[in-house]
Symmetry: C2
Subunit: 210 residues, 2 copies
Protein backbone atom coordinates (compact mmCIF):
# COMPACT_ATOMS: atom_id res chain seq x y z
CA UNK A 1 0.00 0.00 0.00
CA UNK A 2 1.03 3.59 -0.51
CA UNK A 3 -0.01 5.93 2.30
CA UNK A 4 -0.68 9.65 2.39
CA UNK A 5 -1.15 11.36 5.74
CA UNK A 6 -2.50 14.86 6.29
CA UNK A 7 0.80 16.65 5.66
CA UNK A 8 1.31 14.60 2.48
CA UNK A 9 -2.18 15.47 1.23
CA UNK A 10 -1.71 19.16 2.02
CA UNK A 11 1.66 19.08 0.27
CA UNK A 12 0.47 17.45 -2.96
CA UNK A 13 0.68 19.38 -6.21
CA UNK A 14 -2.81 20.83 -6.78
CA UNK A 15 -3.82 18.76 -9.83
CA UNK A 16 -2.42 15.57 -8.36
CA UNK A 17 -4.42 16.16 -5.15
CA UNK A 18 -7.56 16.93 -7.13
CA UNK A 19 -7.21 13.62 -8.98
CA UNK A 20 -6.50 11.56 -5.87
CA UNK A 21 -9.33 13.02 -3.80
CA UNK A 22 -11.84 12.83 -6.65
CA UNK A 23 -10.89 9.22 -7.38
CA UNK A 24 -10.79 7.48 -4.02
CA UNK A 25 -14.53 7.50 -3.24
CA UNK A 26 -15.28 4.91 -5.93
CA UNK A 27 -17.71 4.83 -8.83
CA UNK A 28 -19.79 7.91 -9.37
CA UNK A 29 -23.00 8.33 -11.32
CA UNK A 30 -22.93 10.18 -14.62
CA UNK A 31 -25.89 12.48 -15.08
CA UNK A 32 -26.75 15.53 -17.12
CA UNK A 33 -28.84 18.10 -15.27
CA UNK A 34 -31.21 19.98 -17.55
CA UNK A 35 -32.58 23.40 -16.66
CA UNK A 36 -33.98 26.57 -18.17
CA UNK A 37 -34.29 30.15 -16.96
CA UNK A 38 -37.38 32.32 -17.01
CA UNK A 39 -36.21 33.81 -20.32
CA UNK A 40 -36.19 30.39 -21.95
CA UNK A 41 -32.40 29.90 -22.06
CA UNK A 42 -31.66 26.16 -21.75
CA UNK A 43 -28.72 24.63 -19.95
CA UNK A 44 -27.15 21.21 -19.48
CA UNK A 45 -24.48 20.46 -16.90
CA UNK A 46 -22.63 17.25 -16.10
CA UNK A 47 -22.81 16.12 -12.46
CA UNK A 48 -21.28 13.05 -10.82
CA UNK A 49 -22.63 13.36 -7.29
CA UNK A 50 -26.32 12.40 -7.49
CA UNK A 51 -27.25 10.41 -4.38
CA UNK A 52 -30.39 8.67 -3.18
CA UNK A 53 -32.14 10.39 -0.28
CA UNK A 54 -35.36 8.47 0.26
CA UNK A 55 -38.10 6.70 -1.67
CA UNK A 56 -41.18 8.07 0.11
CA UNK A 57 -41.21 10.94 -0.54
CA UNK A 58 -38.92 10.23 -3.48
CA UNK A 59 -35.88 12.50 -3.11
CA UNK A 60 -32.42 12.88 -4.55
CA UNK A 61 -29.52 15.16 -3.79
CA UNK A 62 -26.39 16.39 -5.52
CA UNK A 63 -23.38 18.49 -4.72
CA UNK A 64 -22.60 21.73 -6.49
CA UNK A 65 -19.42 23.75 -6.25
CA UNK A 66 -19.59 27.27 -4.78
CA UNK A 67 -21.99 29.51 -6.65
CA UNK A 68 -20.84 32.31 -8.90
CA UNK A 69 -22.40 34.14 -11.84
CA UNK A 70 -21.49 31.36 -14.24
CA UNK A 71 -23.37 28.62 -12.40
CA UNK A 72 -26.23 28.55 -14.86
CA UNK A 73 -27.69 25.30 -13.51
CA UNK A 74 -28.00 26.78 -10.03
CA UNK A 75 -29.52 30.05 -11.12
CA UNK A 76 -31.97 28.29 -13.41
CA UNK A 77 -33.11 25.94 -10.65
CA UNK A 78 -33.77 28.91 -8.36
CA UNK A 79 -35.52 30.69 -11.22
CA UNK A 80 -38.01 27.97 -12.15
CA UNK A 81 -37.85 25.55 -9.22
CA UNK A 82 -37.42 22.65 -11.67
CA UNK A 83 -34.58 20.52 -13.02
CA UNK A 84 -34.14 17.21 -14.79
CA UNK A 85 -31.58 14.45 -14.13
CA UNK A 86 -30.67 12.40 -17.19
CA UNK A 87 -28.51 9.28 -17.08
CA UNK A 88 -25.41 9.25 -19.29
CA UNK A 89 -24.82 6.07 -21.29
CA UNK A 90 -21.42 5.11 -22.68
CA UNK A 91 -22.78 5.97 -26.13
CA UNK A 92 -23.44 9.52 -24.89
CA UNK A 93 -20.40 10.04 -22.68
CA UNK A 94 -18.12 11.94 -25.06
CA UNK A 95 -20.79 14.49 -25.84
CA UNK A 96 -21.90 14.62 -22.19
CA UNK A 97 -18.35 15.35 -21.06
CA UNK A 98 -18.37 18.48 -23.20
CA UNK A 99 -21.18 19.80 -20.98
CA UNK A 100 -18.64 20.09 -18.13
CA UNK A 101 -16.96 23.00 -19.91
CA UNK A 102 -18.13 26.56 -19.26
CA UNK A 103 -20.15 28.24 -22.00
CA UNK A 104 -21.71 31.67 -22.34
CA UNK A 105 -25.23 32.14 -20.95
CA UNK A 106 -26.75 32.42 -24.41
CA UNK A 107 -25.31 29.13 -25.61
CA UNK A 108 -27.33 25.97 -25.08
CA UNK A 109 -25.31 22.84 -24.30
CA UNK A 110 -28.13 20.88 -25.94
CA UNK A 111 -27.19 22.41 -29.25
CA UNK A 112 -23.43 22.60 -28.64
CA UNK A 113 -23.10 18.98 -27.51
CA UNK A 114 -25.68 17.50 -29.84
CA UNK A 115 -28.52 16.51 -27.53
CA UNK A 116 -32.22 16.99 -28.17
CA UNK A 117 -34.34 18.71 -25.49
CA UNK A 118 -37.78 17.26 -24.72
CA UNK A 119 -40.44 19.05 -22.72
CA UNK A 120 -43.03 17.08 -20.76
CA UNK A 121 -46.18 18.01 -18.88
CA UNK A 122 -45.81 19.51 -15.39
CA UNK A 123 -42.05 20.06 -15.81
CA UNK A 124 -40.56 23.35 -16.97
CA UNK A 125 -37.01 22.03 -17.37
CA UNK A 126 -35.99 20.15 -20.53
CA UNK A 127 -35.12 16.44 -20.53
CA UNK A 128 -32.38 14.88 -22.67
CA UNK A 129 -34.12 12.79 -25.34
CA UNK A 130 -31.09 10.52 -25.85
CA UNK A 131 -30.94 9.49 -22.19
CA UNK A 132 -32.30 6.04 -21.19
CA UNK A 133 -33.23 7.33 -17.69
CA UNK A 134 -34.89 10.72 -17.27
CA UNK A 135 -36.00 12.17 -13.94
CA UNK A 136 -38.00 15.37 -13.40
CA UNK A 137 -37.49 17.15 -10.05
CA UNK A 138 -38.54 20.23 -8.17
CA UNK A 139 -36.21 22.02 -5.78
CA UNK A 140 -36.87 21.14 -2.14
CA UNK A 141 -33.77 22.30 -0.25
CA UNK A 142 -30.63 24.29 -1.00
CA UNK A 143 -28.00 23.78 1.70
CA UNK A 144 -24.65 25.55 1.93
CA UNK A 145 -21.68 23.67 3.37
CA UNK A 146 -19.99 26.17 5.66
CA UNK A 147 -16.54 24.58 5.28
CA UNK A 148 -16.02 25.36 1.62
CA UNK A 149 -19.12 27.06 0.24
CA UNK A 150 -20.27 24.03 -1.74
CA UNK A 151 -24.01 23.47 -1.92
CA UNK A 152 -26.19 20.41 -1.59
CA UNK A 153 -29.30 20.64 -3.72
CA UNK A 154 -32.20 18.38 -2.79
CA UNK A 155 -34.96 17.65 -5.26
CA UNK A 156 -38.34 15.94 -5.00
CA UNK A 157 -38.75 13.41 -7.82
CA UNK A 158 -41.96 14.30 -9.66
CA UNK A 159 -41.66 12.08 -12.72
CA UNK A 160 -39.50 9.25 -14.08
CA UNK A 161 -39.13 8.14 -17.71
CA UNK A 162 -37.26 4.94 -18.54
CA UNK A 163 -36.52 2.78 -21.54
CA UNK A 164 -38.94 -0.06 -21.04
CA UNK A 165 -36.33 -2.76 -21.53
CA UNK A 166 -34.28 -1.64 -18.50
CA UNK A 167 -37.13 -1.76 -15.95
CA UNK A 168 -37.23 -5.19 -14.29
CA UNK A 169 -40.38 -6.80 -12.89
CA UNK A 170 -39.52 -5.87 -9.30
CA UNK A 171 -38.83 -2.22 -10.12
CA UNK A 172 -35.05 -2.60 -10.22
CA UNK A 173 -33.31 -0.72 -13.03
CA UNK A 174 -30.78 -2.66 -15.11
CA UNK A 175 -27.94 -0.15 -15.48
CA UNK A 176 -25.87 -2.62 -17.50
CA UNK A 177 -28.60 -3.02 -20.10
CA UNK A 178 -29.00 0.77 -20.10
CA UNK A 179 -25.24 1.02 -20.75
CA UNK A 180 -24.97 3.64 -18.00
CA UNK A 181 -21.44 4.97 -17.40
CA UNK A 182 -19.65 4.96 -14.05
CA UNK A 183 -17.38 7.98 -13.57
CA UNK A 184 -14.06 7.70 -11.77
CA UNK A 185 -12.45 10.95 -10.73
CA UNK A 186 -13.13 13.80 -13.11
CA UNK A 187 -12.85 12.36 -16.55
CA UNK A 188 -12.71 8.54 -16.65
CA UNK A 189 -15.87 6.85 -17.91
CA UNK A 190 -16.17 3.13 -17.19
CA UNK A 191 -18.67 0.78 -18.83
CA UNK A 192 -20.32 -1.56 -16.34
CA UNK A 193 -20.74 -5.31 -16.65
CA UNK A 194 -23.75 -7.46 -15.76
CA UNK A 195 -24.72 -7.34 -12.10
CA UNK A 196 -24.22 -9.93 -9.43
CA UNK A 197 -27.29 -9.47 -7.27
CA UNK A 198 -27.36 -10.25 -3.59
CA UNK A 199 -30.49 -11.00 -1.56
CA UNK A 200 -32.35 -8.06 -0.05
CA UNK A 201 -32.60 -7.36 2.80
CA UNK A 202 -29.32 -8.90 3.82
CA UNK A 203 -29.66 -11.33 6.70
CA UNK A 204 -26.90 -12.09 9.17
CA UNK A 205 -25.04 -15.26 8.12
CA UNK A 206 -22.36 -17.27 9.79
CA UNK A 207 -18.87 -15.91 9.35
CA UNK A 208 -17.85 -18.89 7.27
CA UNK A 209 -20.02 -17.93 4.32
CA UNK A 210 -18.34 -16.34 1.28
CA UNK B 1 -40.18 4.91 -22.82
CA UNK B 2 -42.30 4.07 -19.81
CA UNK B 3 -43.38 7.09 -17.76
CA UNK B 4 -44.32 7.48 -14.11
CA UNK B 5 -45.80 10.77 -12.97
CA UNK B 6 -46.24 11.86 -9.35
CA UNK B 7 -49.52 9.98 -8.78
CA UNK B 8 -47.99 6.84 -10.31
CA UNK B 9 -44.95 7.09 -8.04
CA UNK B 10 -47.09 7.67 -4.96
CA UNK B 11 -49.29 4.73 -5.96
CA UNK B 12 -46.46 2.23 -6.47
CA UNK B 13 -46.24 -0.82 -4.23
CA UNK B 14 -43.67 0.04 -1.55
CA UNK B 15 -40.88 -2.35 -2.57
CA UNK B 16 -41.33 -1.62 -6.24
CA UNK B 17 -41.04 2.13 -5.54
CA UNK B 18 -37.98 1.58 -3.36
CA UNK B 19 -36.28 -0.31 -6.20
CA UNK B 20 -37.19 2.24 -8.87
CA UNK B 21 -36.14 5.28 -6.85
CA UNK B 22 -32.91 3.66 -5.66
CA UNK B 23 -32.01 2.59 -9.17
CA UNK B 24 -32.60 5.60 -11.38
CA UNK B 25 -29.74 7.80 -10.15
CA UNK B 26 -27.11 5.60 -11.83
CA UNK B 27 -23.99 3.90 -10.53
CA UNK B 28 -23.25 4.28 -6.85
CA UNK B 29 -20.02 3.77 -4.99
CA UNK B 30 -19.62 0.73 -2.75
CA UNK B 31 -17.86 1.52 0.50
CA UNK B 32 -17.63 0.01 3.96
CA UNK B 33 -17.56 2.58 6.74
CA UNK B 34 -15.48 1.44 9.71
CA UNK B 35 -15.99 2.85 13.19
CA UNK B 36 -15.53 2.07 16.86
CA UNK B 37 -17.13 3.35 20.05
CA UNK B 38 -15.35 4.56 23.16
CA UNK B 39 -15.74 1.07 24.67
CA UNK B 40 -13.83 -0.48 21.78
CA UNK B 41 -16.77 -2.10 20.00
CA UNK B 42 -16.03 -2.16 16.26
CA UNK B 43 -18.56 -1.66 13.49
CA UNK B 44 -18.69 -1.91 9.70
CA UNK B 45 -21.58 -0.62 7.62
CA UNK B 46 -22.16 -0.66 3.86
CA UNK B 47 -22.86 2.74 2.29
CA UNK B 48 -23.51 3.60 -1.34
CA UNK B 49 -23.78 7.37 -1.18
CA UNK B 50 -20.21 8.64 -0.70
CA UNK B 51 -19.77 11.83 -2.70
CA UNK B 52 -16.85 14.17 -3.38
CA UNK B 53 -17.10 17.54 -1.67
CA UNK B 54 -13.83 19.28 -2.36
CA UNK B 55 -10.11 18.58 -2.67
CA UNK B 56 -8.69 21.45 -0.60
CA UNK B 57 -9.59 20.90 2.14
CA UNK B 58 -10.17 17.29 1.18
CA UNK B 59 -13.77 16.46 2.09
CA UNK B 60 -16.32 13.77 1.42
CA UNK B 61 -19.97 13.35 2.36
CA UNK B 62 -22.45 10.54 2.65
CA UNK B 63 -26.11 10.09 3.37
CA UNK B 64 -27.41 8.19 6.36
CA UNK B 65 -31.00 7.18 7.04
CA UNK B 66 -32.79 8.65 10.07
CA UNK B 67 -30.97 7.93 13.28
CA UNK B 68 -32.25 5.43 15.85
CA UNK B 69 -30.59 3.39 18.58
CA UNK B 70 -29.40 0.77 16.10
CA UNK B 71 -27.36 3.17 13.95
CA UNK B 72 -24.04 2.06 15.32
CA UNK B 73 -22.01 3.82 12.64
CA UNK B 74 -23.59 7.16 13.52
CA UNK B 75 -23.21 6.82 17.27
CA UNK B 76 -19.61 5.65 16.92
CA UNK B 77 -18.72 8.61 14.70
CA UNK B 78 -20.15 11.01 17.27
CA UNK B 79 -18.37 9.11 20.02
CA UNK B 80 -14.84 9.20 18.58
CA UNK B 81 -15.08 11.79 15.80
CA UNK B 82 -13.40 9.35 13.41
CA UNK B 83 -14.49 6.95 10.65
CA UNK B 84 -12.89 5.10 7.75
CA UNK B 85 -14.20 4.66 4.19
CA UNK B 86 -13.04 1.48 2.50
CA UNK B 87 -13.67 0.69 -1.16
CA UNK B 88 -15.48 -2.57 -1.94
CA UNK B 89 -14.00 -4.69 -4.72
CA UNK B 90 -15.99 -7.33 -6.59
CA UNK B 91 -13.94 -9.95 -4.73
CA UNK B 92 -15.23 -8.51 -1.45
CA UNK B 93 -18.80 -7.68 -2.45
CA UNK B 94 -20.62 -10.74 -1.11
CA UNK B 95 -19.11 -10.35 2.33
CA UNK B 96 -19.52 -6.57 2.24
CA UNK B 97 -23.22 -6.93 1.42
CA UNK B 98 -23.69 -8.84 4.67
CA UNK B 99 -22.64 -5.67 6.51
CA UNK B 100 -25.91 -4.07 5.39
CA UNK B 101 -27.86 -6.32 7.76
CA UNK B 102 -28.52 -5.22 11.34
CA UNK B 103 -26.48 -6.90 14.06
CA UNK B 104 -26.41 -6.53 17.83
CA UNK B 105 -24.12 -3.88 19.30
CA UNK B 106 -21.71 -6.44 20.67
CA UNK B 107 -21.19 -8.17 17.34
CA UNK B 108 -18.41 -6.94 15.08
CA UNK B 109 -19.16 -7.05 11.36
CA UNK B 110 -15.42 -7.45 10.84
CA UNK B 111 -15.62 -10.85 12.46
CA UNK B 112 -19.08 -11.77 11.19
CA UNK B 113 -18.34 -10.93 7.56
CA UNK B 114 -14.74 -12.06 7.52
CA UNK B 115 -12.76 -8.82 7.25
CA UNK B 116 -9.60 -7.93 9.11
CA UNK B 117 -9.45 -4.60 11.00
CA UNK B 118 -6.26 -2.55 10.78
CA UNK B 119 -5.45 0.38 13.03
CA UNK B 120 -3.17 3.16 11.85
CA UNK B 121 -1.58 6.16 13.52
CA UNK B 122 -3.73 9.24 14.17
CA UNK B 123 -6.97 7.37 13.40
CA UNK B 124 -9.12 5.75 16.05
CA UNK B 125 -11.47 3.95 13.65
CA UNK B 126 -10.44 0.63 12.09
CA UNK B 127 -9.68 0.23 8.37
CA UNK B 128 -10.62 -2.84 6.31
CA UNK B 129 -7.34 -4.63 5.47
CA UNK B 130 -8.82 -6.33 2.37
CA UNK B 131 -9.88 -3.04 0.77
CA UNK B 132 -7.70 -1.64 -2.06
CA UNK B 133 -8.69 1.96 -1.13
CA UNK B 134 -8.78 3.04 2.51
CA UNK B 135 -9.63 6.56 3.68
CA UNK B 136 -9.41 7.89 7.22
CA UNK B 137 -11.74 10.80 8.11
CA UNK B 138 -12.77 12.97 10.99
CA UNK B 139 -16.30 14.27 11.38
CA UNK B 140 -16.70 17.86 10.22
CA UNK B 141 -20.48 18.37 9.85
CA UNK B 142 -23.64 16.46 10.67
CA UNK B 143 -26.62 17.89 8.79
CA UNK B 144 -30.23 16.80 9.17
CA UNK B 145 -32.51 16.91 6.14
CA UNK B 146 -35.76 18.38 7.44
CA UNK B 147 -37.91 16.63 4.81
CA UNK B 148 -37.34 13.07 5.96
CA UNK B 149 -34.91 13.06 8.87
CA UNK B 150 -32.00 11.66 6.83
CA UNK B 151 -28.57 12.99 7.70
CA UNK B 152 -25.64 14.11 5.62
CA UNK B 153 -22.34 13.40 7.31
CA UNK B 154 -19.32 15.38 6.12
CA UNK B 155 -15.81 14.19 6.84
CA UNK B 156 -12.37 15.73 6.45
CA UNK B 157 -10.00 13.30 4.76
CA UNK B 158 -6.98 12.88 7.04
CA UNK B 159 -5.25 9.93 5.40
CA UNK B 160 -5.46 7.79 2.27
CA UNK B 161 -4.02 4.30 1.71
CA UNK B 162 -4.03 2.77 -1.76
CA UNK B 163 -2.72 -0.32 -3.48
CA UNK B 164 0.28 1.07 -5.32
CA UNK B 165 -0.68 -0.45 -8.65
CA UNK B 166 -3.93 1.53 -8.87
CA UNK B 167 -2.43 5.01 -8.38
CA UNK B 168 -1.56 6.51 -11.76
CA UNK B 169 1.22 9.04 -12.35
CA UNK B 170 -1.16 12.00 -12.42
CA UNK B 171 -2.90 11.02 -9.17
CA UNK B 172 -5.90 9.42 -10.86
CA UNK B 173 -7.10 6.17 -9.30
CA UNK B 174 -7.72 3.23 -11.64
CA UNK B 175 -10.97 1.81 -10.29
CA UNK B 176 -11.01 -0.90 -12.97
CA UNK B 177 -7.63 -2.21 -11.91
CA UNK B 178 -8.78 -2.02 -8.28
CA UNK B 179 -11.83 -4.10 -9.32
CA UNK B 180 -14.08 -1.63 -7.45
CA UNK B 181 -17.80 -2.47 -7.62
CA UNK B 182 -20.52 -0.12 -8.83
CA UNK B 183 -23.81 -0.55 -6.97
CA UNK B 184 -27.15 -0.21 -8.71
CA UNK B 185 -30.18 0.15 -6.50
CA UNK B 186 -29.88 -1.72 -3.22
CA UNK B 187 -28.30 -5.02 -4.07
CA UNK B 188 -26.88 -5.22 -7.60
CA UNK B 189 -23.07 -5.13 -7.80
CA UNK B 190 -21.60 -4.40 -11.22
CA UNK B 191 -17.96 -4.95 -12.22
CA UNK B 192 -16.55 -2.03 -14.19
CA UNK B 193 -14.60 -2.20 -17.42
CA UNK B 194 -11.52 -0.23 -18.46
CA UNK B 195 -12.07 3.53 -18.61
CA UNK B 196 -12.41 5.74 -21.62
CA UNK B 197 -10.80 8.96 -20.45
CA UNK B 198 -11.75 12.35 -21.77
CA UNK B 199 -9.55 15.45 -21.69
CA UNK B 200 -9.70 17.60 -18.58
CA UNK B 201 -10.80 20.31 -18.36
CA UNK B 202 -13.28 19.90 -21.14
CA UNK B 203 -13.09 22.63 -23.74
CA UNK B 204 -16.01 23.77 -25.86
CA UNK B 205 -15.95 22.00 -29.24
CA UNK B 206 -18.05 22.38 -32.32
CA UNK B 207 -21.38 20.63 -32.19
CA UNK B 208 -20.36 18.25 -34.95
CA UNK B 209 -17.82 16.42 -32.85
CA UNK B 210 -18.77 12.98 -31.49
Amino acid sequence: MISFFLADIDGMERHFRRNVINGIGGCKSANLIGSIDSQGRENLGLFSSIFHLGASPALLGFQMRPVHEGRHTYHNILDTGHFTVNGVSMAMHKRAHLCSAPYAREMSEFELCGFRPIYRKDMMAPFVAESPIQIGCKLEEDLEIALNGCRIIIGRILQVHLEESILLDDGCVDLHRADIAAIAGLNAYHPIGAAESQPYPAKPLSKNQP
